[in-house]
Amino acid sequence: MNILDKERKVRELESKIDELGNKEITSKLKLEIDNYKQESMINLTSWDRVLLARHQLRPTSKEFINYLCDDFIELRGDRLFRDDKSIIGGIGTINGNVVTIIAQQKGKSLDENLERNFAMPHPEGYRKALRLMKQAEKFRRPIITLIDTPGAYPGLEAEERGQGEAIARNLLEMSNFTVPTIAVIIGEGGSGGALALGVTNKVIMLENAIYSILSPEGYATILWKDASLASKAAEVMKLTSYDLEEFGIIDRIVKEPLGGAHFDKTLTFKNTKKAILEELYSLRKLTGEELRESRMDKYREFGFFQRFNYDNL
């Protein structure tokens, strides 16, 4: 029984309680539901977290921005080709701090998802992000990126317009900024498409978000030639926030309410805002050069290998 089945059961019981109307019994039953949630939803498997990260009701970037920012002005277009709707960007204020926010936006309905291309950006999306980030560098604004994508779009036009080059350029330029940069992985963090916004001083991750080299389905197909083994792949891939914190890939986990972010969105937003502000204030103490060097040194250390036979370098 995975997390979605459990959630369905809880929702079913809750709707039945409302029908009853008897106060004594309802309060008693509510307590029981809470107990059930405590028991069943506290220890989640990796696959459960994958399902939660892709949940239909999970808050999207726009909802996060609405809560985080006192006001937000969206800026569009990469000045080269067109405006990619799967990435939104703009200027906002968080508790009086003026920041540039870049976010990958999933849709809530099918129509919106088609418009947003299921948050799978084309090269022009990454070029728009780069343009806005360079603008932030010019005006000394911190950059906050919200990551929520299954991956960069693997399509015909995307290849024609240089998907690989766009991502590579982002990786290089993001390393070079002298303003504080923070990435928040709020849902799916899929491979290069996520990393292209994720080379930052601090990487914050929501508890039930995932961050991986490719989707569990793709992993199972490539290594075991069977996409139905995705749940097994999820366990092997070490893609949850707790695994990644252990590896040192991410810096901080933001706690989510029991059963996933969508059970109590405000609490999730509140925790996220607190984490962003704390990291932002700690990064503000560093100079631009320190920020760039510490960021580069951080990524220089990543890797898991052994070395013997040291030559002159």
Binding site: A152, P154, E159, G164, L171, M237, I249, M296, F304, L313
Partner: protein, 293 residues
């Protein structure tokens, strides 16, 4: 221009008497690798070709001009001046961070087969007498995929070039990031890009030569960040693999899609260079960028 090339060549022959002082790497002394059969079928023109002639012809099919995939060692032989290559950064051990079944055995298999410690080698070399740092990916080693060790060695090769104040040439041939090492492979994309950045900030030249195939995480990091990007004819270069794209858009891809000529037309590659001209093109570019002290 040719005079310049000649003067550098003469300089090399003058230098050659000091050759003994150089440490001879294991790689240059090993034999050239001729495929098993004497005659083999060319995958493009379906014509049987004499393998020995093909090897002499820099692994180009005499019949149709198809550029075959080349091992790192053979690539060295046809690109750099013989005896000048000094391998650096040998001796990394690939570990198994995600405890994948059979990954260690696979690696040791490939190690024995290819005589390399990983899918990437780098070192000091001279091309027509011009000193440079050269890095070569080997697509025969687990599809040249980029794991922790490859990422580290690529970054190290940029750092070595910075230390020596030399330009760097990288021949890419890779299927992308290595799945078995999971998130660590992904982070190598950021790491190698930063290697390019630091090298570039010193005002040094980086030429990347895209060879068949260059896809995935390598395309999306250091391969497309070169100051000058060259490519071999008919090499597959792209971010997503052709099969993935076909599945996504549900239709057949046009002929020549994602090939180097296509990308040259779209403006992502400076020049498609035939393998026969590659060495001279590289040495000319290096001479044009030489530092005047």
């Amino acid at each position: 221009m040719n005079n310049l090339v000649k003067t550098f060549e003469n300089r090399r022959s003058l230098k050659s008497k000091f050759k003994i002082a150089r440490t001879k790497s294991k790689i240059t002394s090993s034999k050239i690798d001729v495929p098993k059969g004497l005659y083999e079928k060319c995958p493009t023109c379906k014509e049987t070709v004499n393998m020995k002639n093909t090897v002499d012809n820099k692994f180009i099919c005499k019949n149709c001009g198809e550029h075959f995939r080349v091992r790192a060692i053979d690539r060295l032989k046809i690109t750099v001046d013989s005896g000048t290559f000094v391998e650096k950064g040998h001796g990394y051990i690939t570990l198994n961070p995600l405890f994948q079944d059979g990954y260690e055995e696979k690696i040791s298999d490939y190690k024995a087969k290819t005589n390399l410690d990983e899918a990437y080698i780098y070192g000091y070399a001279e091309i027509n007498g011009v000193p440079t740092v050269i890095g070569i990916m080997d697509s025969y080693f687990l599809m040249g995929s980029m794991g922790s060790v490859v990422g580290e060695k690529v970054t190290k090769s940029f750092e070595y070039a910075m230390y020596k104040k030399l330009p760097i040439i990288i021949f890419t041939a890779s299927g992308g990031a290595r799945m078995q090492e999971g998130i660590f492979s992904l982070m190598q994309m950021a790491k190698t890009s930063q290697g390019v950045l630091r090298h570039s900030k010193m005002g040094l030249l980086y030429i990347s030569v895209l060879t068949n195939p260059t896809t995935g995480g390598v395309t999306a990091s250091f391969a497309t960040l070169g100051d000058i990007i060259l490519a071999e004819p008919n090499a597959l270069v792209g971010f997503a693999g052709p099969r993935v794209i076909e599945q996504t858009i549900n239709q057949k891809l046009p002929e020549g899609f994602q090939r180097s000529e296509f990308l040259e037309k779209k403006g992502f590659i400076d020049k498609v260079v035939n393998r026969n001209d590659l060495k001279d093109t590289l040495s000319k570019l290096l001479i044009l960028h030489r530092r005047i002290r």
